[in-house]
Amino acid sequence: MKKDYLPEDFEIVQEWIKNRSESAASEIVKKYQRFIYLLVLRIVKNSEQSKDITQEILVKILNSLEKFSWKSSLKTWIYRVATNYTKSYLRQVKFKNVISIDADETFLEIPSSEPDPEQIFRNSELEKAFLEALSKLPEKQRETFSLRYFHDLPYNEIAEMLGVSVGASKANYFQAVKKLAVALKDYQNL
């Protein structure tokens, strides 16, 4: 059952599936690359790795679009694929890291639990502080805030992506905004 999908999404996807045209692939990539990149960055907190993972996710999505059943919006499906892929990537890296410690080999680079604002936001202290405060929010609050604030998604879509109710999404959004305001209070005069 097709639900809440954008007609242009459907057409592009069909074009890609049937003809494998580069233009369709380019359109899909251009439309969702920033969405995916910011999502990955929130989880990985490392700019370079986020770029590589975003690329992998886009390739995976293009290869898997035939399996997409349109039971949700394309964006919701992409969000889930990207989230699962990124979390799986982090697990693998952590596992390899454990193995390399046991084998007394060179450490693999593992994303820091702290954000790497220097790499991404070089403009101001406020930007760094904002990203840091955002990364410290609970996952649901952080994701709700990001999806609403950065991507203007409606609450029902956010709720579907995160597997929560619409009311819970609204409550999470309020809590996230409130916590960020408290965390960034000291930067008001910058």
């Binding site: 380019s26 990539v29 251009k30 690359q33 990149y37 690329q55 293009l62 604030y149 203007d152 905004v177």
Partner: protein
């Protein structure tokens, strides 16, 4: 009318961020503003959030993301091309595998199976021949049904009584661990006598007769321990026994 009803605290909290970020519709915004004086702490909250996010909103996150993902389309398309080439090579390998390797493997398996089957059959035939030889050998020792008439029984009893075959005593025998060997020995001793008896009788011809009695050491122990009187009693009972064949 509905517009005049004010928001509850929960409804106010749910709308506060969207109000601050100008994402409420006109009706909702008006209602929010009408309800706000009822919640002084939320008035302060709105003020704080607005102050902080006025500055945050100046950060163009989309622009940053765009800069970070520059050239992504080309990289992804390049990856897809590489993947397709690999896929083509893989498909070729798979086709080759299907066309040649699988039939070759199947042939090898069939040949191996056939060889195994032939070897097994030959082995089976040899086994059967061996078994037949063994069966023939054992056929000689296989017990035969001896049909005896009352007259034969009487003759047999008489012959047994006159039997001159040696009586085996336990202390004259070596240590018999195998009752079959002992049975063979007894058969050897009595076979001549029994054969002569059956040849003389009027019953059907019997080539060879063996006893199916299990000659265990205990049996002989018991016989040897019998005193003469008990032995005679047993023999009398045997004489009086009625044989039904």
């Amino acid at each position: 009318m509905e517009n005049n009803v004010q928001y509850s605290r929960k409804e106010m909290e749910e709308r506060l961020p969207d109000y601050v970020f100008d994402r409420l519709g006109d009706k909702e915004r008006n209602k929010f503003e009408q309800s706000l004086p009822n919640y002084p702490d939320l008035i302060k909250e709105v003020s704080d959030v607005r102050t902080v996010f006025t500055k945050v909103r100046k950060i163009d996150f989309n622009k940053i993301a765009e800069a970070e993902t520059r050239g992504m389309t080309e990289r992804v398309l390049s990856r897809l091309h590489t993947q397709n080439r690999t896929q083509t090579t893989y498909n070729y390998a798979r086709t080759t595998t299907r066309r040649y390797l699988i039939p070759a493997l199947a042939a090898i398996v069939l040949i191996a199976f056939a060889t195994q089957f032939i070897v097994w059959n030959i082995s089976k035939e040899e086994n059967m021949k061996n078994n037949q030889i063994v069966e023939k050998i054992f056929d000689i020792q296989a017990p035969k049904v001896l049909e005896l008439s009352q007259k034969d029984i009487a003759t047999l009893d008489k012959s047994v009584a006159q039997c001159s075959a040696p009586i085996l005593l336990e202390n004259e025998l070596p240590e018999w661990n195998n009752s079959d060997e002992l049975a063979d020995l007894i058969d050897d001793i009595y076979s001549e006598y029994l054969t002569s008896f059956t040849n003389e009788s009027n019953t059907q011809q019997v080539e060879y007769v063996v006893s199916t009695i299990n000659y265990g050491n205990n049996y002989f122990n018991d016989l040897n321990n019998l005193d003469e009187e008990n032995l005679q009693n047993i023999l009398n009972e045997v004489d009086n026994a009625e044989f039904i064949f």
